[in-house]
Symmetry: C3
Subunit: 264 residues, 3 copies
């Protein structure tokens, strides 16, 4: 793996188009800025052709989906595909309602995604594995995540990343396991949404989407891990803010030092 | 009153459906997570039947109302009533515009609410008492809050909670006064909106809505009071974040120790 | 210049109507509260006549523009003009897409603005000067900002404020340069959006829009400068929150002490 991704990201400072939800729009923007990127948030159908043409990546997040937004997502996704920029799907709470299920199926049919990133409940739903998801939260169950990641990656011909205490990332053949989890991530809103955007940013760095996704997820997990070293499990508010500082401070040397990645 | 509400809330970890405004969606989600609950934010008409069927409470907040949202609120409210889950109304700035006045009247006609929670200006408006509200802020005036809380509770056959330096909660017969106010609450946005969501979460704990609302409002006020002990009146940003930590740390023993509740 | 603007602002506590974007609605509300003002956020067409009639200023921000919002902006702007309250335009990312360009032209034709406040890229676009803007970020280039501020002020018969390391403010004749910049402002989202709202608040203090805009921009820059004295360039999250505290603590004496203003 290349070991200068964060450095290159800060140098390139890519412009990232986010179609995202009203809950995390602010946090995702601040997180991308902390990583040295330029975020632009827009849902307006009038801008969906042009923005992917001037941006370096598109991140689609269905957290507070509306029917208007679905149209915008499709238009932007097609423009992104035409402009050959990476497209990330964050299928927030996909199993929770019919609307989310149908929308994700439509998006996966109409748009070629480079990466699908979600929590265990969301990706298990896409794999049609039995799992007890809980709204937009991961939920609980027993499952073979390596297999699920592989299956969904093969099914949709893209990288798949399952975030949790351990992250599982697959391109359909290989699976990377990242063991840098932090208990505080599920206690704040938008930690997954921001990671999806960070993945989109890393995917602008080159062609090797699998390695770049592993690099993005490892870097992000470590930024959280470093903060957690100084906090207890109740300091959810402090974690929320300190994570931004940690992302702003993170460098490749630190990531290399902390990273616990294994391959299957 | 039961003295293990916070413990039970963290154990049950209810899923709370919020139809809320773009200003506080993030803070309400983080606050509910800090209390051990799972928030889901959604306004989409397509989801308004299904979400209340999988959630344990519905919280309706009119802070940045749109005509589309009104339709969603009614549909979700009816589904919540059908599914017998508690429904909370936060009539943000109800007196400020005709649109808000009419919408609240429509909501109160179409939906059976378990609780209406607002500031002095909002509840005084519902009681048709003369009061100088100020946009979405409480405003000022002279009024008998105990009587207002009682009157509105009787009028709409639900619990009413008036938040302020002193909280007044009534079921139409009894009135509880909570004297754990904190000067910093009105200096941050969404402190009332988050309290409404926390009340919705507490209402999932049983049938006694009056006691559970008193418990929710007392717990929340005390979380703020504890933070305020270490801050001065200018530290609005610190208060905003530390309140999340305080909610995450709060337990029943602490609430019992600090609580100043009297009944009329 | 009057040296009691902050004091008067906290005394008057004006109600400020914001038509703003989903990214910064929360931060702008908290920032205005920290300055002692009362924010109200609303996009609903149903409220656009009434709100400017009860508010003391209107701030229009196109950050996450929708076609529905454009209609609301025009209606609110006309009502604000009729009610003689100051109107501020924040043309976020105006050069990024045709939709933003056309909307800003429409707004400038339909509404009489008292102030246009933006970053270098945005105001350069309005001056039709060659500049490499980057999405909603300032971008880079060489330009005579004093001249640009003057030109745009003359063209639209209003005050123009260009925010950056140095702020340039013009009424078309005079130009004020404020040299109180802070490197952390461009690293957080919404720092410009909040400044636009703060300018709107200051404009409620009297008729001299040029001096009041200079006062607002100087005060805001200094609030950031004071925070930055205790932080390094990586502490973006801390800066985000501490800026609210700093705005809440700021007084006229401190502003007078720090201010570096020169006139051309």
């Amino acid at each position: 793996m290349q070991t200068d991704n964060i450095k290159r990201l800060r140098q390139n400072s890519p412009l990232i188009h986010n179609i995202t939800n009203i809950v995390v729009a602010n946090y995702v923007a601040n997180g991308l800025l902390s990583m040295g990127c330029s975020p632009i948030m827009s849902n307006a159908i009038e801008e969906m052709d042009e923005l992917p043409a001037i941006c370096q990546a598109l991140v689609i997040n269905i957290g507070t989906l509306t029917s208007e937004q679905v149209k915008s997502m499709i238009k932007a996704g097609k423009s992104a595909n035409k402009n050959n920029i990476p497209v990330v799907l964050d299928p927030v709470g996909v199993g929770a309602t019919s609307f989310r299920k149908q929308t994700v199926q439509t998006l996966l049919k109409e748009i070629k995604f480079d990466l699908i990133r979600g929590n265990a409940g969301e990706i298990a739903h896409l794999a049609q594995v039995n799992w007890k998801a809980k709204g937009v939260d991961a939920g609980s169950g027993e499952a073979n995540f390596s297999q699920i990641a592989k299956d969904v990656a093969l099914k949709y011909d893209c990288i798949v990343s399952i975030s949790g205490e351990i992250d599982y990332i697959s391109d359909g053949l290989k699976v990377a396991k990242i063991d840098n989890g932090t208990t505080l991530f599920p206690k704040i809103t938008g930690s997954g949404c921001l990671l999806s955007a960070v993945c989109g940013a890393f995917l602008t760095l080159g062609e090797n989407s699998f390695e770049l996704t592993v690099s993005a997820c490892t870097s992000y997990a470590i930024a959280g891990q470093i903060v957690k070293e100084q906090l207890n499990d109740n300091q959810t508010g402090q974690f929320y803010i300190a994570l931004l500082d940690s992302l702003a401070k993170l460098d490749d040397t630190t990531v290399e030092k902390y990273a616990k990645i294994s391959f299957e």
